[in-house]
């Protein structure tokens, strides 16, 4: 059994758990929801095992490093943080509805990692990447991204609920999803968590750049996009302090913010060029 098999099993368990969460939401069966949570926890354990095994495998290859250094590994880690974050929310707010939106995200990330034409090998690190700041940078950024992913999932739920409201055929959705105020509250909390971690991610990245190249900020496209993302969320946090911007607009902003996250993380590597080009291998 090697790490890639474990990660493959995780992908399908996430898919299965996604269906369970959606079914639990639509049919409102408590037991199905419990099964969904159970399978998610099992998938998380397998995924954790897979990441740990990959770490060990890298040492067996004599190039030991944490599994956080290329696109493949970072997408897998992203799925891992999304699930941890999601389970935390499920536990804290005692609601499983968000799972129907969060689990598919984790599944998509794992499916992309498993099937997209990207390098899945364990590669040695070029000198610039051999830094503990790399670890701190990747971990902080991805915790932030996971929080923003959940915020976006909540934003979609919010928009779905407001646009279904009134239409009698789908009036049920009123009760299917949590109340708007709850959705807005959790969205806000997720954005706060994401903002702190993204701030830490940008800061650790800047410190790393300074220790490797002597500039903490060089406006390279990836840096700039992470800052744009940060500004989008700073904008959103301040929007509450002016009249007229709330509810729906915040939900839209959670989506805009997450699009910026995806572009920072993924788009920049493929569409633009810069220091972070290692991520494209």
């Amino acid at each position: 059994m090697d790490s890639s098999q474990l990660l493959g099993i995780t992908t399908f368990t996430f898919l299965f758990a996604s269906f369970l969460y959606i079914a639990a939401l639509v049919f409102r069966t408590e037991n199905m929801g419990k099964a969904a949570t159970g399978f998610t926890i099992i998938a998380l354990l397998i995924l954790t095992l897979g990441l740990g095994l990959r770490w060990i495998e890298s040492y067996q290859l004599g190039i030991g490093h944490a599994p956080l250094t290329n696109m493949y590994e970072s997408v897998v880690f992203f799925a891992w943080t999304i699930i941890i974050f999601y389970l935390g929310i499920e536990w804290k707010f005692k609601t499983r509805t968000i799972g129907a939106f969060a689990l598919p995200l984790a599944f998509l990330a794992m499916a992309y990692a498993s099937f997209a034409p990207i390098n899945r090998g364990i590669n040695p690190l070029v000198p610039a990447l051999q830094s503990n700041w790399l670890l701190a940078h990747v971990i902080t950024c991805f915790v932030g991204y996971a929080a923003f992913a959940i915020a976006a999932a909540l934003g979609i739920m919010y928009l779905a609920k407001t646009s279904f409201a009134g239409k009698s055929s789908v009036d049920q959705s009123k009760e299917l999803l949590p109340p708007l105020a709850t959705l807005e509250d959790i969205t806000h909390k997720c954005m706060i968590i994401g903002f702190i971690w993204l701030s830490a991610g940008i800061i650790t990245g800047a410190i790393w750049a300074n220790s490797a190249w002597g500039t903490y900020w060089s406006w390279d496209p990836k840096e700039t996009w992470s800052l744009i993302t940060w500004f989008v969320y700073a904008f959103t946090l301040h929007a509450r302090y002016t009249r007229g911007i709330k509810g729906k607009t915040i939900a839209w902003l959670s989506l805009v913010g997450f699009i910026a996250v995806i572009f920072t993380y993924y788009g920049v590597n493929f569409l633009l060029s810069g220091l972070h080009s290692y991520g494209s291998s």
């Binding site: 000198p127 744009i228 700073a234 302090y241 920049v268």
Partner: protein
């Protein structure tokens, strides 16, 4: 400072902050799409002469240093200052507010509340409540009026400054960036092994700057992984002041050398056709390090020996072994293959020499002086701390109103928190039931 001046209101408004944040975020995209810092001709060939001209007028080729982008950043900073000056006095009043001045009516109207009775007389109740509060970490004060006593206690009043810590952290980071751009420089220097340099060339202006000391590259080495990828670049550097060595250190990527505020980063290298030969007489200890060009004879007059590199084996891009010849005063020269950069003992003129031969490199160093970087780091730390305070800590206040009743005393306990009310209510409930039990 409540000021009704409309210009003041404009610069103090959150709306302006939203507009500025929006403008900075959207215009920042330009520089990620249009390549930066290319020569004018590049833009002409890519976008046509008219567009290139327009770019030049708008400073697009270096937009992050352009007047309009810097102005946006300054506007953000100015907005922050005015906004904070506008609001902070109010926040300060809330921090300093004396909870004992809050009237009994308001305390009775608060939504987080609990009341109970006790057989003990008022003075005893007040004492035991204060003691218990103290046991839970709530330092309490009291005020007595004709018919009731108010006990007040609070925690974390200072946390109201959290947002202001975040806002000032941005100003501190800006300050650091300004200090760095006014008082610092970024440049590079290439130093061949065994040589030293005392000047660097700046990136932007191509200006040449005197370091004020010399830096020597003693040696440079590359390590490879088995698959041929580079594993580490290492330079051994020595700092010299007026010709005397003051500091020697190995630097690697991610592990630079700093001397007198100037930092040297390993950034590139250049391979030469020449070789660096180090020879040591093992008996006398006399040694020589020289640059020996390929297939040229080099002399060591003090020892009366001559040597040279006559052949080399290459694997990939690096030289793995070297064939040298080594000759004394008399007798035939000996030739042999040596591994690159490893010590070998030779016997010549009945003397033993330890010889090391390596390919010659020049190390490419990035040289930076940034006196503002510590301000930037302090600002970053302040920001993370401030964000934590602003989002997760709150100002919590508790009042207990003790009134005399027919059989002892009646208590009304109220509380308020400026953030995270559910969390506060949990704390309040446990505290209240603890107090009630006594």
């Amino acid at each position: 400072m409540q000021n009704n001046n409309s210009l003041w209101q404009f610069f103090a408004s959150v709306k302006l902050a939203l507009v500025t944040l929006f403008l900075i975020a959207t215009t920042s995209i330009i520089g990620t799409v249009i390549p930066q810092k290319e020569p004018f001709q590049f833009y002409v060939s890519q976008y046509g002469p008219k567009t290139a001209q327009l770019f030049a007028i708008l400073d697009i080729p270096d937009m992050y240093n352009s007047w309009w982008f810097i102005s946006l950043l300054f506007l953000l900073g100015f907005n922050l200052v005015i906004c904070s000056v506008d609001r902070f006095p109010g926040v300060w009043r809330q921090i300093k507010a004396d909870g004992l001045q809050v009237g009994a009516d308001r305390i009775r109207k608060m939504s987080t509340q609990k009341s109970w009775r006790s057989d003990a007389p008022v003075s005893d109740s007040v004492l035991s409540i204060k003691e218990l509060l103290k046991k839970h970490g709530w330092q309490a004060a009291e005020k007595q009026t004709d018919n009731e006593t108010v006990i007040f206690s609070q925690k974390g009043s200072w946390t109201r400054t959290g947002v202001y810590l975040v806002h000032s952290s941005i100003l501190v980071i800006f300050l650091g960036a300004i200090i760095g751009s006014l008082g610092g420089f970024k440049g590079s220097v290439s130093i061949p092994e065994t040589m030293s340099r005392d000047k660097v060339v700046l990136y932007d202006s191509r200006e040449i700057v005197d370091l004020g000391f010399e830096i020597r590259c003693n040696s440079f080495a590359i390590e490879f992984y088995e698959n041929g990828m580079p594993k580490e670049y290492t330079s051994s550097l020595t700092v010299l002041e007026n010709g005397t060595e003051v500091l020697t250190r190995d630097i690697e990527v991610n592990s630079p050398l700093t001397y007198k505020g100037i930092t040297f980063y390993q950034s590139s290298y250049e391979a030469y056709q020449d070789f660096v030969v180090t020879a040591v007489n093992t008996e006398t200890g006399s040694r020589k390090t020289v640059v020996s060009p390929f297939q040229k004879q080099t002399e060591w007059p003090e020892e009366n020996v001559r040597f040279g590199v006559i052949n080399a084996k290459v694997r990939g891009q690096s030289i793995v072994s070297i064939k040298i010849w080594f000759a004394g005063e008399n007798g035939p020269p000996s030739t042999m293959w040596l591994d690159e950069n490893s010590l070998t003992t030779l016997d010549e003129n009945n003397r033993n020499y330890q010889v090391r031969v390596k390919q010659m490199y020049a190390t490419g160093l990035q040289v930076a002086k940034d006196p503002g970087v510590w301000w930037v780091y302090i600002g970053c730390g302040l920001m993370l701390f401030g964000l934590y305070v602003a989002f997760f800590m709150s100002h919590r206040r508790i009042w207990v109103l003790v009134t005399a009743s027919d059989k002892g005393s009646a208590m009304v306990m109220s509380g308020s928190a400026n953030k995270n009310r559910p969390g506060f209510e949990n704390v309040f409930d446990t505290l209240a039931s603890d107090l009630e039990r006594t």
